[in-house]
Amino acid sequence: MFKSKAWGRTTCLLFLLVFLWGCGSEDAEKKEGISSFFWDVHIERWETTPLLKSTQSSVQYNGVVQTVQHEQTPSEGMVFLLLDLVVEKKQAGASVFSWGDVFVEDSEGHRFSRHPNDSFLDSSDRQRMKGTSLNFGKNEGFVCFEIPEGSAKGSLRLVVLLEQQEHSLEIK
């Protein structure tokens, strides 16, 4: 009798723990982000890679699918840092989200700008965020930075200048 009660308590406790753990993990999934008066920015996911392989398929004149393989590599000693971003304007107004005001900062304070032409992302099955200034709406997609291999091993931050104020977000 005692034993079964203990088992019952243990089972309830385990259930409660699992339940609470489940609740906790939901909280943990909430995305941290940058928020200014006009803009919300958050990172959906990120990755570093020394190589982007792409297979580009296109449909030709008579319906035939043409497939071309392509590899995109960063400069020597660098890796690609790919950020899947959501940039949303939450307040109407003239404020513009400019990529010239967006950087990735490594643990030593070195800053890196967005790759000048990361349109190769489109052909690597990643939807690319357009490279021009954003005026409005919810904008989603990948952007690419080239950073040193050493920087990629340490902590990284996304730095954004919005309404003349610097905001930053740890990339984790």
């Binding site: 004149y61 043409q66 005026n135």
Partner: protein, 705 residues
Amino acid sequence: MKRKLWIAAFVVLGIVLVVVAGGVAVRNGFLVRASAFRLSELEEVPEFDILAWQFSREKEILANFQVDAHGLENPFVVLDPYEMNPLAALLLFDTQTPCSVEVRVGGKDAVSEISYTLHQQLLHHEVPVLGLYPGKENRVSLTAHFSDGASQTTFLSIATDALPVDFQVYSLVESQPAKMEPGLTLMIACFSHSYTCLLDANGDVRGYLSRKDMAHGTSIVLLQNGRFLSTGDEYRQIPYNMTSLWEWNWLGKVFQEYEVPHAVHHDVNELPNGDFLAVSNHRDMFQTGTREDVVVVVDRATGMVEKEIDFRNILVETREPYHHFHPDVRNTPNIDWMHTNGAILDSHDGTYIVSSPTQSMVVKVDPETSQIVWILGPHEGYDGESAQLEPFLLSPVGEEFEWAWCQHEPMIMPDADGNPDTLDLLLFDNGQSRSFSKDGAVLPEHNYSRAVVFRIDEKNRTVEQLWEYGKERGSELYSTFLGDADYLPCTSNRLIAFGGQLRSEGKPVDEIFSGVMGTTVTRSRVVEVTEKGEVVFEVAVQENAFSSSAETYQVERIPVFSAGSFGYSLGEVRGERVGESKFLSPATSVSAPLLFRNKLGVCFHDMHREGDKLVVDGAISYEGKTYLLGRAFLVFRSEKNVYVFEANTSLNGRFFASVNLSDFEPGEYMISIAGAVREGNDALNGEMKKGHVLSGYRVTLGSGE
């Protein structure tokens, strides 16, 4: 012993029951049931109507503009407002007193500066900026001209994104701007991989269409109202047969969508009354067994097809000249015997001049009676049933004369001799094989393409060659397929697209199919020549690391700005849709499969809803491999209902569908694809491999369940 027998009997009974239950379950569709779990795993088909989206975008722009005050000195700048041309911007601002606005986009040099004026004297300004360079901070000036003669100028910098890495490569070979026809050069792509773009006199890109589904393999027409017409975003069959035409401007605003159930391919032209003359198909092209052999007139106001000229009743579909247009498919269910690539009006007598490259024939017909007036083309192959056409053949005169073979783009030249009985016709003569039969075929390394002007004496039924360009360039410019030749009215120059130069290891070849497969490189060359043959502009188009295709289907010289296409205010003009949708009919010969068989693969280039219309553009494969021949069916299954439609199938697994969802009972439907591919190249024979897979999409209709 008895016990063992009983056990055996029970086992057998059990197996029988399981088999029967399984059979009943399969027959009742249990294994492909649209269960709540299955439906929850599927993505709802997204709603997208370009006309509605553009209108809401305009309101979004205005909402952002209206928050702050924007004058000439601080306009509200929106780059690529309709997400169609990344090298165009819209500037919004207000002025205290009415003014017109002059726009100047700085160029590399004087000839590449772009300027134009919006003449209306207004207080609120919505100014298009066209002709920006890619990947640059563009210098733009705006000058306000007031009615009292005063003016005020402000300078802006507009940054643009770089060209996509898979953009085809343009190399300037020759440019003499003083001798060139004014305007920008519109380079129209053919394959969905390439981009349609605008080039300036330096060969620099100054605008492009980022949407690769529209305006590929078909013409783009500058309309009398200053807007442009091209094909839109909905396919009927092989991906240049489109059921939608869009009327748009270079900001990307779509003013009108015309739905043409017959589908439009290759050429469209505007008639003097504003209607469209287009090369097309029989409305029931999948039942007739042929395609691309009908010319239609589309009523501009209603979008309805008001006239059809069916060339199966005019020419002879069994005449078979030697050419390289089609892949070797035996027993093809949909024969492209004519491949009509152009139709124009001869306004002198109201007849149509129609080009068939596979027949190496340009034919003039009376649209009211369907009577042939004349046939321009080589005289071979008019025997048997085709002998009835022989009386219409024009006879060549003059010493310097050569027929055109597999030609493109007939264009009537201005009257040069004042003789009402003659007609001067400009053509792009691809020259493919230059023979009716394989025996006499000219090899590609010895062949050439050219633009040629023929003078047709309709009274004496003769044809004379007046002018040509391209033969002297030999195989360098030989272009097996695609191409264009335009007369330019200001300079009398001719703009020529040597559009589809197939090259293998640098040498010309004729294998169109391997070109479209991407195993053979396709390059192109655009040349502007004077009447005397002096080259004043030449651009070479070449492949890049991402694509072996650098074709130019057609070329046009156009003004960068046409006021008529910008006379609207944001949020006031919603694009309209006219015409008639062509929906699939429910399949009668095939029932919905009762099992999933996952060797079939399916991917979608497009799957969206425009209200009650479902638009699908997909491709099937089998065990990861693409097959030349196949068929695809769409299966819609809810808890209570099942609908099956056979898609319009193209080559290499590609299929298209427009489904009328308003015919469905309300409910939540999972969409699956049943398909079959066939080994080999014989549409009737060869092993069939079948499959049935979930599409990954569901569609919810009415009140749902």
